[in-house]
Symmetry: C2
Subunit: 378 residues, 2 copies
Amino acid sequence: MTLAQLNNKFLPDCLDGGMGVGYTLHTCAINHLCSVYRVLAMEKVSIKDIAKAAGVSHSTVSRALRESPLVNVHTKERIQDLACEMGYSPDAQARSLVTGRSYTVGVVVTTIADPFVAEVVQGMESTAHDHGYTVILSSSNSEPEREIAAVEMLRAKRVDGVIVTSSRIGALYLDNVERIGAPVVLINNHNEQSGHYTYTISVDNHHGSLLATNHLINQGHSRIAYITGPANHSSDTERLAGYRQALSEDSIPYDPTLVVPGDGKPVGGMRALQALIERTQPPSAVFCYNDMTAIGLLRAAREAGISIPGDLAVIGFDDIPLASFVCPPLSTISQPKKEMGRLAMEMVLTLAESDDPVRPESSDIVVKGKLEVRQSTL
Amino acid sequence: MTLAQLNNKFLPDCLDGGMGVGYTLHTCAINHLCSVYRVLAMEKVSIKDIAKAAGVSHSTVSRALRESPLVNVHTKERIQDLACEMGYSPDAQARSLVTGRSYTVGVVVTTIADPFVAEVVQGMESTAHDHGYTVILSSSNSEPEREIAAVEMLRAKRVDGVIVTSSRIGALYLDNVERIGAPVVLINNHNEQSGHYTYTISVDNHHGSLLATNHLINQGHSRIAYITGPANHSSDTERLAGYRQALSEDSIPYDPTLVVPGDGKPVGGMRALQALIERTQPPSAVFCYNDMTAIGLLRAAREAGISIPGDLAVIGFDDIPLASFVCPPLSTISQPKKEMGRLAMEMVLTLAESDDPVRPESSDIVVKGKLEVRQSTL
DNA sequence: TTGTAAGCGTTATCAC
DNA sequence: GTGATAACGCTTACAA
């Protein structure tokens, strides 16, 4: 059976919908047809191959495949069937080369293994998907040079936009941002001296901190400790400030020795608990920079025989999925993670799709966290 | 100052290393130079622009930028400096179009918010990075048609390979796999009737199940329940089989009523506990399909006032990060998640880079889990 | 050592 | 309606 003969056997309902971007081709029934087609499909079939087989020019094929009205409905169908039979898959790169849009956005994270990050990324991916975009994932491991290398790589891949979570890069970054050509939005940016000419999504750390500290105060605590996060993160500075404001609003004197250093990870929380219980006058409650810190603290407390919340009330920040499953379930400030991912993606797509060459100077969305009361403070 | 004049001001140490793929361009000191360059960088600069500025042909530029030996060392330097100054970024898509390699692999997951998946993906991403590849992430939400659409999209993006985790697609898939043109490796494939002409990485479910059940038996238990995972997953079938074999090896009669349905999620575990304690003769130990199930069960037990492991010993499967932090810390079978991600990525890259057109019929790597004893069984 | 030209798979602008 | 033809930015023979 020759190719010409096969080409005459058109399948009627080969396509199950408009081809649009051409991703629905797979549904055609040809899958189960003559194995000769398999072989044909092996060799990448291009628009030109279809043109040759259909006896038309490649531009006609292009039009037919993109549902252009500028093509005879009959030949359009014929071409679509043929494309389907031959196992055609449009080359997104070639298309991007001429259209200038890749329908791809780059996402730079510290590590995807961080449950907080993972949920944010899920929000991003799903909204990207809804808009017909795909996501390139890149990890920075919190190393600035890896982060900037990732951005450069994304530039080479001609992404339509970039989202960076928990960026460590500040002023140095901005120069690169201007060169990248695609919009860059930062989510929970951790750098102190940024905040000019950028697009950001971030949680209101100060507000969340007020919620957490006030909750502890309302529970009757007045000796309240704060375990810090990693140094030089603006989020930590802001959370500390909120903690101090809550204290002062209730006329509770601020005791700097009750601020003990952590690192945003369980081990930091474990060490912090040690430091706290060694004090002559330990606190009755503690507000931790984040849930991971609180969870480490919880674990150390269990090992040290300290009852939570009896001896010590504990509240965290983030509301990672783990928080409600630890023992006791952890009170915390819930960040709308998926929502933030969604917002970041929508912002970057809006920027990418605006044909207005001059973008707004900056755009910063601040979302508010929510107090989640669980057993660790009751 | 004209472009020509600027072009004469070559920066000496503009590049800090071999250009290779051209991702190190950003490090050049020009960042802080004349703002005229900024403007130039705004308009995408191509190899031809550099050629024009340098007064050579664009092929010479191409060679210079790729460290080809076929170019005068002096002009090479001149061109590299120029490229750097002008803020050149190579177009990976254009390059891919001609070389046929995109240095990109697609990763399809159920959801990245699953901590198990996230860790596997981290293993993938980091080894991809080490090999100079990038990762496109796509979520299937466990919906077969979304999964297959994702694969089709990846085909359009001309990825060099695809990794699918926890695939639900079976025979139907294989046809598509043959058409994709790029190697596809499945990791912890969940489909019953697959297992021919594919490349897979999976954990030895049967073996892990033996470990878990034997551990419970060694602890003196003989009434041991099993909470199943989602229906029709081969992993569940295999774990159940391992459980049964362990029982029979110790001459413990198999009681089908001790196998209660779960769904692989906490809620399934919570419901399962309810079912167990309502029995006249409840089990003294329970082996859960996975950690999420066990964690739900733990929580329900706490609420029902059942002591773990006093009243009921519990063991899970997976060893997600959460497992060691719940209360009591959960005994489980640890899957080498990052390792599996690494193996999958290396397999797909090996397949992609082998210029041998005929690939091995199939290649299946089975890794063994490890018993992780914690307080929930002691 | 360098330049010319062809081509990768598209879309887009013209004519016809 | 359709078909040449020219891009898009790059690599790579083949010539010079």
